[in-house]
Symmetry: C2
Subunit: 109 residues, 2 copies
DNA sequence: TAAATCTATCGTAATATTACGATAGATAAA
DNA sequence: TTTATCTATCGTAATATTACGATAGATTTA
């Protein structure tokens, strides 16, 4: 198969999984870190930085855009990408909620 | 292709991506939530809870184990799983570091 | 207008992931 | 010992992901 059985899970679980998948790739992590470090935005120099083909970078950027985590603005001939603060904070929150929901009570096996 | 070019990225980026991938699936999120909610541990009732085949659940558990996020203890005929606190906290920290590294300075596009 | 530059998309090949039935192995119960 | 119960693994089919060359579209420069 290869199809995730989305119906078996609730919306929250599916949405969180989708967003996590968006950042669960070294290239996309590197892209996000680069955008963050540049403080402002970044365009096609990601291609030089990451050593991946231009088509590949573009594809990764698209996935981050689809996840709503970044936003692109056309600037002349190039495109400037930056973090979408709202979605960024929201995802951070959701992840944190999951992680902090585990209280270490020594009742485990 | 389909092979991630691991060599293009540093160890931190690759490790983080691997662990994120481990939790970037609704079934595995549901499994983690279930383990957390049960407070102690959980065995094969995940099969009843999630509506996935036993082989599928076992496979997901294996991936979480491989990521070091859970730990299983044999208890008679069944196996009891629980969160691996150390790895859990470590991942939470790494993720949080990434998210908080973004300071919203209004210099973006 | 023509050439140059940058990015997105298409098509495609290689590989990974997801799910499940079948089955094996291990322990408990009869 | 035999049977029942539970979990892991194997094999496999369906689908998704990753990467890249080629190319198209859009804008700027010459």
């Amino acid at each position: 198969m290869g199809v995730t059985k989305t119906d078996n899970f609730n919306d929250e679980q599916n949405r969180l999984a989708t967003q996590l998948k968006a950042i669960a790739h070294p290239a996309r992590i590197a892209i996000l870190q680069h955008i963050i470090n540049a403080n402002a935005c970044i365009c096609g120099d990601l291609v030089d930085e990451l050593g991946l083909a231009q088509a590949t970078i573009s594809q990764h950027l698209k996935e981050l855009k689809n996840a709503g985590l970044i936003q692109g603005t056309i600037e002349g001939v190039s495109v400037c990408y930056c973090i979408e603060l709202k979605a960024w904070k929201a995802l951070q929150n959701e992840i944190n909620t999951m992680f902090t929901s585990y209280k270490d009570v020594n009742t485990c096996c």
